[in-house]
């Protein structure tokens, strides 16, 4: 227990020391790099995942392919992918982006697809019955109804990306993982735990942002029905 309190004390000291907040090696710079990797890869992953998820969910064709691709992508070891692309293409932020996109696509794709497919067929028929076109059914009925699941997929992807972007530091790239990897090689436990704490806080902020987003964008009529997760 004492040991645990000591750790908290260490982290507190590390986080509040002014050298952490200034210069090239400080938290703001690393945080910015981390957010850039995470934000860009989430954006690309959302473009891919949402497009194919909506397409397949709406048409009902290719469901098996979507499940297989998502499963295959989940099996790719992110750490290996980062290292492999660095070995092949040299040190740049591209390997990190490729690996993080591969990590983030499956949850977005699967949840979007499940969300759209899970819309009650009677509701879909009713929408067609009142004269909506395919596009209108998708944008005005299926997407709003699938929104809780789509947001869940985006949230899971965002948290995984934020946590995994730390791996980028291993082959020599930036981001908050720098603190962890450098601390490890220098045997500086304070640095390792301090860096980890910043990543955890960032992940919690992401979680909170998505919870808030859900309150704002999900239709009130659906909120009661989808309180779980």
């Amino acid at each position: 227990m004492n040991d645990f309190l000591n750790q908290i004390q260490l982290v507190g000291d590390w986080l509040t020391s002014s050298s952490q907040w200034h210069g090239d090696e400080g938290i703001p710079r690393r945080l910015l790099e981390h957010l850039t990797y995470s934000g860009l890869s989430l954006l690309f992953a959302a473009l891919i995942g949402l497009t194919f998820g909506l397409l397949v969910g709406h048409t009902g064709r290719g469901a098996f392919a979507v499940a297989s691709v998502a499963n295959l992508a989940r099996a790719i070891p992110t750490f290996g992918l980062v290292v492999l692309v660095v070995t092949l293409a040299g040190l740049s932020s591209t390997p990190v982006l490729i690996a993080l996109v591969a990590l983030a696509v499956p949850p977005i794709l699967i949840n979007t697809f499940e969300g759209v497919r899970g819309v009650d067929p009677a509701t879909r028929d009713a929408a067609r019955g009142v004269g909506m076109t395919g596009w209108e059914v998708l944008t005005r009925v299926e997407v709003p109804m699938a929104l809780p699941l789509i947001l869940l997929g985006l949230r899971v992807a965002a948290i995984q990306v934020v946590a995994t972007a730390t791996v980028a530091a291993y082959p020599g790239l930036g981001g908050l993982g720098r603190f962890i990897v450098d601390g490890l090689s220098r045997n500086d436990y304070e640095l390792v735990i301090g860096g980890s704490t910043v990543v955890v806080v960032l992940a919690l902020v992401v979680q909170a942002v998505f919870t808030a987003l859900r309150r704002v964008v999900v239709s009130p009529g659906l909120r009661a029905a989808a309180t779980k997760s």
Binding site: A67, R74, A75, P77, V83, L88, I180, I193, S229
Partner: protein, 221 residues
């Protein structure tokens, strides 16, 4: 990397076949034991959360917070207590499985139709017998859907453990980077993916054998 270096040197794989097999076995143990431990924790915890609904949100929050801790960081935290051992990799991986397994156990139990529950009670099943013999079997498809996600991600995460010297096939990933030689990296990745996909297929099979009454597909969220 040298430009005429091929992506895969087949001779290297042939030369290292025995060693690769050893590391594959270690990898499988490091990846799958945590899922087993996770299940041993999640089933009772899930039953408890299902019965005491108030317990569920805090448990889920804790599991989600654990899940958001980067694996690298969690390994480091445990190095202080368990050293550079296999436990240091397996304890964090076990904790990660909880954020998938606990909700799936709870959702699985919630998927038991109320009439079934009532019928079991009416037939004289006590609470314990009803949960074990009626509710858990009905929950199996949803629970296995969670186990599939947990197993696949656990197997692929083991590789990161190499940074504390316990990464199973991850050994070849760091080795390849040090030598600037892609063959070991590609080989390790392909083997890891094969392990994950084979495990996934076996779990689908297990589900079919365990729930002969339902052949309907359950997909993971």
């Amino acid at each position: 990397m040298n430009d005429d270096e091929p992506l895969v040197r087949w001779q290297w794989i042939a030369d290292h076949a025995a060693e690769l097999a050893d590391y594959t076995a270690v990898h499988l143990r490091l990846g799958l034991l945590p899922v087993l431990f996770g299940l041993i924790i999640s089933v009772p915890l899930g039953i408890l959360c299902h019965r005491l609904r108030r317990l569920y949100p805090p448990v889920l929050t804790v599991a989600n917070i654990l899940y958001s801790i980067p694996s690298l960081a969690l390994f480091m935290i445990f190095v202080r207590y368990t050293g550079l051992t296999e436990q240091t990799v397996m304890i964090p991986l076990t904790l990660y499985t909880l954020s998938v397994l606990v909700p799936n156990v709870v959702d699985g139990l919630a998927s038991v139709p109320e009439p079934v529950r009532l019928a079991a009670t009416a037939m004289g099943f006590g609470t314990v017998r009803r949960v074990v013999q009626v509710e858990l079997p009905i929950a199996v498809p949803v629970v296995i859907a969670g186990v599939r996600v947990a197993a696949v991600s656990s197997i692929s995460l083991v590789a990161v453990g190499q940074l504390i010297g316990q990464g199973g096939l991850g050994y070849y990933i760091t080795r390849g980077l040090q030598l600037d030689f892609p063959t070991p990296i590609v080989t390790a990745m392909v083997l890891i993916m094969l392990l994950a996909l084979t495990t996934d297929a076996l779990l689908v099979l297990a589900q079919r054998l365990l729930t002969p009454w339902s052949r309907s597909k359950v997909t993971a969220a």
